[in-house]
């Protein structure tokens, strides 16, 4: 299946996929010609494209999977919300920036080095930790539950 993959050439995310057209009532080649005339960066690609987890290798003009940022140290039980119990999450990718959300609100963020992200709390709830490493690494999302019952 041929898709049209529109991507960004701009820093800081060259190759970031902006849009995928996987079917059109008109021939893909015809659409590609219009995009070329408009100066819109794109490629015609045969195969499945996952907009969030793939990127375009601009030099080779092919779609590649974005490497995963694997997070280790994820507990298999809730964190005890006593301010003492502590976990440390380690991303595999370098230069990772972490944002921590609770109920949709950003409550903390920091650049994580080799020490990883330490998390302890006195407040029960679900903490969503979002790890962003330099492109083309994928975004990693970890949910941590904190409970007095843990």
């Amino acid at each position: 299946m041929t898709s049209i993959v529109l991507y960004s050439k701009d820093q800081p995310n060259p190759g970031l996929i902006i849009q995928v057209v996987s079917y059109s009532e008109n021939p893909m080649e015809e659409i590609s010609q219009k995009l070329t005339a408009a100066g819109t960066p794109h490629i015609l690609y045969n195969g499945d494209v996952r907009i969030a987890s793939d990127y375009v290798d601009i030099d080779l003009e092919i779609v590649k999977p974005r490497p995963e940022n694997v997070i280790s140290g994820i507990p298999d039980k809730p964190l005890k919300a006593d301010g003492v119990d502590k976990i440390t999450l380690h991303p595999s990718a370098p230069n990772t920036h972490v944002q921590v959300y609770m109920a949709g609100t950003l409550i903390a963020e920091e650049d994580v080095g080799s020490d990883g992200l330490e998390l302890s709390t006195q407040t029960e709830g679900t903490y969503v930790c979002i790890f962003n490493a330099p492109f083309p690494y994928q975004q990693a999302v970890v949910q941590i539950e904190a409970s007095n019952e843990a």
């Binding site: 898709s3 970031l16 996929i17 902006i18 849009q19 995928v20 057209v21 996987s22 079917y23 059109s24 009532e25 008109n26 015809e30 659409i31 219009k34 494209v49 907009i51 969030a52 944002q99 959300y101 949709g104 609100t105 950003l106 969503v128 979002i130 975004q139 999302v141």
Partner: protein
Amino acid sequence: MTVPRVLFQGGSGTTLRVSLPGVDVTTADIDHLVFNSSYSGLSIVQKGSVSCSVRGSAGISWSTPQEHIPWVLWRCKFSYETLYRGPYIYKGLNNTNDYIMATATTSGMSFSVYEPGVDLGCIIDYVAFKATEPP
């Protein structure tokens, strides 16, 4: 007993219907039809995915301008969520709520998403179907 399973009718009530085996097509309801020309008009204009920044918007264009505003089925997934929201079905101007909006025209469609307190983007999957009449 043999029953008629194919109905091809002209005139003002033009229709083509095919019923399930053993069911009389002239009396079959919709649950007992395998084909009904009255419901076969949806053809796909375009389908795909687009990324949208929260507090921003994303636009797509139909490959050719449409005579009528297409029907659009779409869903979205925020970066911090594992499940999609939706699907949403629109014909023309419409909103689902204050924060997830879409506007379709004969030339394309724009999406805008706002999640309070969240600056993360989302992914939108869509399918646009050809409309045969104005909204």
